[in-house]
Every structure is written in structure tokens, then in C-alpha cells.
Symmetry: C2
Subunit: 300 residues, 2 copies
């Protein structure tokens, strides 16, 4: 059992990470701007605005004395996060959090969330040691943070891992993103416009993503680790699976939206490290996960 401080615990992946840690019996402390109404039993909530309140990191550390820092919080506003200046706020806040963590007596291990947007998008399947030449400010901010944080952790004798998320879907995803956008249109009986959908992506159910981060946080593997399914699927096929669940395939409008010219054709993870070194593998197949996602939107 470890004492874990989790940031971003009210976010899409964070909620599932929190559930996984609590299920495994860890002592979980969370930093969040607002404690949610249905807070899990046994979870210690610390109200803090890590961006606006520069003193909050030190206060949370003093109150929670974590052995493990699991830092998922970041700016995630759909459509804006790729280019928003808030990415720089989070570089700053993340480094501040790490420094305060390094000062706490029990501090032992840090895990942070990275992204497939760190990689140079010139391949189709990505392994952790592939070159990182981010094309977006979001990817650059995450990559830059990783470089500094990993070195700082080494300097302070902390074990450090960096979980690179690819594409996460599932109940609770914000409405504008690909899966919920298709699901909602089809459930409403409306045409669902999309690109031709030839892009290959690596989708992981959010409950699996949370469980993977919990495994990473309480394990000992160091350095970058892809957090993904390792399975590539085209957006067209994802849409077809959703259509199969809703029975409205005729409403799919593949090709109605032009594919952006700078869209990478394939973003799929090599998951050897996650499977063989962390010892974790996903439990939820894509068709099951999409079925559950469709159900979560019925009547919503």
C-alpha cells in the first residue's frame, strides 16, 4: 500500500485512476479545485488551485506527505488545448509541484502524464525511444516538461515514469470529441459528419487508462511508457462499430469533413514496455467499450 497524491482526479482519466487506486487499497490524496459531490470513501480531498495559488503545492504536500506523486492535471479544453498558452502555465505548475514533492520526507516516486503528441509524427507505430519532435504546443509543453522533470527527479533520487497517452475514449468524455460526437448524432437520429476516416489511431478505454496509471504509479518502471492498447483502428471502423451499436449506419457521413492535411496517418503505440515491464494489459475490447459508451449516452 502506498500513499499517493493524485492531481487531475476530477478529470476524464483522473476519475478512473482514482477509482483504480482506491480499489487496490492505496491511501489516496487528491488535489482538485473542488471536491466532487460523490467523493469516494477513504479518499482524502485537498482543495487547491495549482495554477492560481502558488503556495498550494507546498500546503498539499505538508497535508498529505505522499510517497508517490501521480500528476495528471493539465489544460484539456477540447479544440483549444493543442495551441493554448495555458500549456505553459501547466509546465510551470508541474515543475513547482515536483519541487515541493522532492522536499517531502517520504517522496519516492513520480509519475506524470505525457502524450503521443510528443513523438515526431513520421512513423505509424511508436516505441518509447523514438524521436520526440512535437508538432504542437501541447506536445512541446509536455515533452519539455518531461525533459526537465526527469532530470530533476534523477538529481533528487526520485524514481520517475512518464505515461504517454494515445487516444482515450469512454463514458464521461467531453461531447465535442470524436467518439461522443458520432454517438450523440446517431442516437439523436441525425446525420453524423466525419472525415473519410482513414486515419489509424490507438484507442484505450478510459477505465483501462486509469488502471494503467495506477499500475504505473505503484510499480517501479522508469522513463517513458506508452499507455495505450497497441491496436490500431481506423476512425471509419470506430464509427462503424458505433453505428453497429446504435443501428443507424446509414446516418454516417464519412468524407463530409475534409481530412486536415497535417493529420498524421497513423498513431499507434508499441506497448511492449507496458505489457512486459509494467505487467499490465487492457481488459476492455474496443467493441465492448464502445457499447458501454453508447449506453452511457442513451437518454443523456
Amino acid at each position: 500500500v502506498s500513499r499517493v497524491l493524485l492531481t487531475g482526479a476530477t478529470g476524464f482519466v483522473g476519475r478512473e485512476t482514482l477509482a483504480a487506486l482506491a480499489r487496490d487499497g492505496h491511501e489516496v490524496h487528491t488535489a482538485a479545485r473542488h471536491r466532487p459531490d460523490e467523493a469516494s470513501a477513504g479518499v482524502h480531498w485537498h482543495e487547491a488551485d495549482l495554477l492560481a495559488d502558488r503556495g498550494s503545492a507546498a500546503r498539499i504536500m505538508a497535508a498529505s506527505r505522499p510517497e508517490v506523486l501521480l500528476h495528471l492535471a493539465w489544460y484539456a479544453e477540447h479544440g483549444r488545448f493543442w495551441t493554448a498558452p495555458e500549456n505553459l502555465d501547466w509546465v510551470e505548475a508541474s515543475l513547482r509541484l515536483l519541487r515541493e514533492f522532492a522536499r517531502t520526507e517520504a517522496a519516492r516516486r513520480v509519475v506524470m502524464a505525457g502524450t503521443c503528441a510528443e513523438y515526431e509524427w513520421t512513423r505509424s507505430v511508436y516505441v518509447e525511444q523514438d524521436p520526440c519532435v512535437p508538432r504542437t504546443l501541447y506536445g512541446a509543453a509536455k515533452h519539455g516538461l518531461r525533459v526537465v522533470a526527469e532530470s530533476f527527479a534523477a538529481e533528487h533520487g526520485l524514481s520517475f515514469a512518464w505515461g504517454r497517452l494515445f487516444f482515450v475514449y469512454g463514458p464521461g468524455e467531453v461531447p465535442g470529441r470524436f467518439v461522443p460526437a458520432i454517438v450523440r448524432k446517431l442516437l439523436a437520429g441525425e446525420p453524423a459528419p466525419m472525415t473519410a476516416g482513414a486515419q489509424i489511431r490507438d484507442f484505450l478505454h478510459v477505465a483501462d487508462a486509469g488502471a494503467a496509471f495506477a499500475a504505473l504509479a505503484t510499480g517501479g518502471v522508469q522513463g517513458p511508457v506508452n499507455v495505450a492498447s497497441g491496436v490500431g483502428v481506423s476512425l471509419r471502423d470506430v464509427a462503424a462499430l458505433i453505428a453497429g451499436q446504435t443501428g443507424r449506419a446509414e446516418l454516417l457521413r464519412a468524407g463530409a469533413i475534409p481530412t486536415p492535411t497535417d493529420e498524421p496517418p497513423s498513431l499507434v503505440a508499441n506497448v511492449r514496455r507496458l505489457r512486459d515491464e509494467v505487467g499490465w494489459r487492457p481488459r476492455i475490447a474496443l467493441d465492448e467499450g464502445l457499447a458501454a459508451t453508447v449506453d452511457s449516452w442513451r437518454g443523456a
Copy 2:
């Protein structure tokens, strides 16, 4: 003529950069904690503590309205800077400065100081596109900053260059470093201990380093640029040149200090970009530069 805001203007390289910019007739504004007693004519000094006073960046921008930001300020305490947590303070302060700069109307170009410590130290001569896998926190902080800052600049339509310094020497260098340490011992008639000195390094006179940054700031070349001489010389040969100037070769104690096992054997720059794209080359040969350095310490 450009309106340039220079940070670190009271530092080792910054003083020479300021002189070069002023000589070329640019309108120079500087941010420094204290205005030096002998301030150059025509230079606008803005007192500011970029680390401690978070509001200072915005105030300086409003007061100076720069077209070019030339950011050299960093933590440089000899012996400590490789591993000090202050490197993280400077990542933060540098990003804040960049953001405030991007908000100013005339903002056009950013130049920042990088380091040969960004490179993966597995080669002997380094070209700008070589892999960056820093071995030190200093190198990691600089590299991480570059990744984020370059992307942010692109997002905001700013031209961006990053000057990677190798080894800078000359009058005014802090006493503990290699060149002044040897010079002072020999001038004092005392034995000068050093490693066997087989390490090959790329030395650039500080006046040349300042002139190179001035050329970079007022030119248009983008991305990383090595700021160095392109000439590799062993520390033993540097020491021998100093001994030749002081006439006390018999006091050199090569081998008296064990060479650290993690010391890279060669750090030399490929300077094609600086020479052919920036159109700049050094003026001060190593023997002349060392002679001037020895003179600067006589009677000091």
C-alpha cells in the same frame, strides 16, 4: 536599427553582447537587478528581478516595447549551476518573459541562450540537429525550455533562434573556472593543479560570444545555432598557452587532479550555420584571447 531587450546584460556574456549591440547603433533596453555604475551611454536600464518579481516582465515590456527579445539571463553560479534547482526557476521565468513579449505590439524575434550541454555527449563534433539527451539538470532545463519556447514562438508568429554556447573565456570570467584558475595560480607563482587535460573543448572569447549573439539577434536565422569557434583544443594545450604567456610552464601540474570519469572526451561545435547562415565568424584567436585574459589578471 532594432529595439532590443537584453536580459543578463550584467553577466559575463551579456556585458559583451550589450557592448556589441550598442556599438552597432541598436536601441538597447536591459533588464537587470541593478544598474551597473558605468552604464553605457544610450542604453536604457530597467531595474527588475525576473525571478522574484513575477510582475516585472510585463512592466519591462510596457516600458521598452521591444522588437527583439535577447534572453541571456540564467543561474550561473560556478560549481553549482549544473545541478541547482534554480535551473527550474529560470525555465519558469524565461517562459513568463516570452509570454509577455508575445503580447507586445512590436514583438518580432526572440533569441535565447542554449548550451552544448543539451547534446547527447556521445560524439566529438556537434551539429545543431544532433540528438539532445542532456546529462545534467542544467542541460535538461535549457533543452526543455527550448522545446517549449520554440513551439510557443511559432504559435505566436515570432521568429526564434537559440544560440548554443560551448566554452566561453576571457576577461571577467569568474575566478573558479578553468582558465582564470590556471592564470591566477601561474601569475601568483604557485603550482597550478589540473587534470591530465586530454579533454578537447571549443573555446570562444567572450567578446566574440557577445558579438555573435548581437549578430544572431539582429539577423533572421531560425532554430538552434552553435555559438562557438569550431576549433577543438585540449585543456592541456590551453594551459600550455597560458603558461607561455606567464613564462611559468614549470608550475603546471597536469594530472594532479583525476579526470572525472563522466567527463566527455570532446565537445566541439560544427559552426557552419553560424558562419554561412548568420554570416558571422570569430575575430579573436585563442592565443591572443588568452594573452588578453592573462593581462586582465595581472595586478588584480
